[in-house]
Symmetry: C3
Subunit: 300 residues, 3 copies
């Protein structure tokens, strides 16, 4: 992908540049791991502490500019998150314009079913089995011995939109999806690619049918996840976890190693201690269920 | 679609006609908006008050016939809902017999992925992107700049069956699906077409992956819905709502504008007041969860 | 499929054979219905009471060997469940090696949509409609007048893995999927085939969109199941049940006839008595929901 100068970028995203307008950057990176030839953004002040000191340029609010105590270039914008969203559109379009997609690299003994599609820039390793009607978006990397069941969609856009006065501005997802060795993905799963970094399934992860993993989720090795569980954006799940069906985990949480989540658990805070967890609220006769809920609600 | 006389219809659905047996009707309409050349049905007496006074013919129970105080034709049946279901089968078959499906109208700059299908009588507007393995049923209208991700199914039959002594009688769905400008539909979503009227997504609606919208749902503009949420038949959701993942909304409810529903909310009554709502019952250690449930259940 | 001798089998699964090393067996059966030419396994002692006395051979723990009071052959293994999993791999590979898949038998007036696939050894009966992008795995039997909506996956592998010191050992699923007359399957459903026996949908079962049925589930006639409900492995559901959306039923339970389960029910024990059941915990203003949960949690 060809580069853009900070001068061009400041115009495209309507930001004020303090720094070198001729500096060329290759793309966007997460703020904690940004390099010299890349640009990142500081959504709000809590991201300042982990900001990479080798960032080539930083998009941020004017009020935070004086907090930057290292040598970099600043792009001042009243809404850095929106500026970032607009910049993803610039970079995804440049990518399309240059048509730099290269043919995917398919390994030995790969079995691709009927009506399955593999986008550009993918790596499909040896001994991978892809059943029928699977859709693999560009930039997905699949390790050896992985099995993908029918109807699954791998590497689709994450669900990211920034509210504006004119509706939603889409955040184009520039990251990828990495599925390591010996994973098995059930039927009709949906796994999004990352926004900037990757969504990652480590070795030996097993997904049942219709599991949803959002952008930038990481699943540790040997973890198994049952049907219709949904894990929101940027959640990190540890190793050897067992996650039952219909579990929901809200965004940006951390689930440690050796955690078991029983069916229909609603996880809204990180769980770092190994053990078995649930939102146990089982079925009973509906008349009794109505009375029970009335009782617990009225006892204030 | 060619017309049927009320005489023919009365025989096909085994109803008693009070009125003009030669009157030709073109199809079935919802009772509140039925026109002269159409027929509607009154499921029970609560639908009487909103019944269109220009209905060409009305299927209803004998006991309600004397309540009709305007000039129309009556089809008396002991089970109007079953008579309606049988009539949908008549009209859907006439449609098939005449093979009146016309080729879909595809706009400029429409990008259709691999292994995607578009049924007859569809309108796909300019600048629409349809990814791979998407299934679009006949009669779906998609506005400009819409993006449909892989594996989604648009315009499939609603889930409607009437119990009879011989099992279920299917309600054939004669309505359509309308997706307005700038909507984005995630991967593996399922959106049913309407029974008589349409299922409608207004402008700028954004759906995450694996969202289910049943027949005759309406979603207001700028509303965003996260993964694996299911909205049952004839629900109306307002503008600028934010609906999290794994939310369930039961049928025929109204959700007003500016409503936020948090993850796993179970909505069983209409919500008209803007604000943030939830069925908050989060995960804890399973031993504690068991004790908690035992406690709230036994304190009667 | 050709046979294997017990001598060969004992080597492949690393078991100690007590019995006839030359006896040929054709495959694996469930312990309750195992026949002379087949082998079964006893996962733990509670399966002993229902073990078929005509089993050709039984895999079991050494400590249970003395409990076998009929004439059979024993394969002693410290982890019979793992030995079984390894044996499924032997038989599925033999199957593949011999390439015994036969072309599927397609009935009269079968309508197969675009980009749908039908594996080998299937039976598709008369008047079946298969919409677009449907994936049917080998060995699926579909009865007359069945409708399968787009994106559904039928007969995929059940979710079965045995933990080992080296990660998960897959249980290859050797059973099938049987869908009887007049069933209708919504869009993007996932129905797994059985481990040894079959997954079965009896006559007139109706599934909404995105329903998940795991391996060896049985659904009784006339039962209807709404969207995004997930039923775990080996659950038996009776006749004339009505199961709403987002219901979860955990594995190996029995649901009797005429049971209604309301939306989002979590079923963790068998329900044998007809009636209406729920896990009713509906949405309220989030501030109130937080207070309510804090209250019920702290009153210990």
């Amino acid at each position: 992908m060809s580069s853009l100068s900070l001068g061009e970028i400041s115009k495209k995203i309507d930001a004020t540049l303090i720094g070198d307008e001729d500096l060329l950057v290759k793309g966007i990176r997460e703020s904690k791991s940004c390099k010299k030839e890349y640009i990142c953004f500081v959504k709000d002040k809590k991201f300042l502490s982990s900001l990479s000191r080798s960032s080539g340029a930083v998009i941020l609010e004017e009020s935070l500019a004086h907090k930057i105590d290292f040598d970099t270039n600043l792009l001042i914008h009243s809404n850095p998150y929106l500026a970032y969203a607009n910049l993803t559109e610039v970079f995804v379009k440049k990518y399309d314009d240059h048509n730099e997609g290269i043919e995917s690299k398919i390994g030995q003994n790969v079995n691709v079913g009927k009506h399955s599609s593999i986008g550009k820039n993918c790596i499909i390793s040896d001994n991978v089995t892809i059943k029928d009607n699977v859709s693999i978006y560009p930039g997905t990397h699949i390790g050896p011995n992985v099995v993908i069941h029918s109807g699954s969609v791998l590497g689709s856009d994450g669900f990211g939109f920034v509210p504006t006065d004119n509706g939603w501005q889409k955040i184009f997802h520039l990251g990828g999806l990495v599925i390591e060795d010996n994973c098995e993905i059930g039927a009709n799963c949906t796994i999004d690619r990352g926004a900037l970094g990757n969504t990652v399934l480590h070795q030996n992860v097993k997904l049942d049918n219709a599991v949803h993993l959002a952008h930038n989720v990481t699943i540790g090795e040997n973890t198994a996840i049952a049907a219709q569980t949904a894990i929101a954006g940027s959640v990190s799940v540890g190793k050897n976890c067992r996650i039952s069906g219909h579990v929901g985990i809200t965004d940006h949480l951390e689930i440690g190693d050796d955690v078991t989540l029983l069916a229909k658990s609603l996880v809204t805070t990180s769980i770092l201690k190994p053990g078995t967890y649930s939102s146990f609220y089982p079925t009973q006769e509906h008349k009794k269920a109505l009375k029970l809920f009335a009782k617990i609600k009225n006892e204030k």
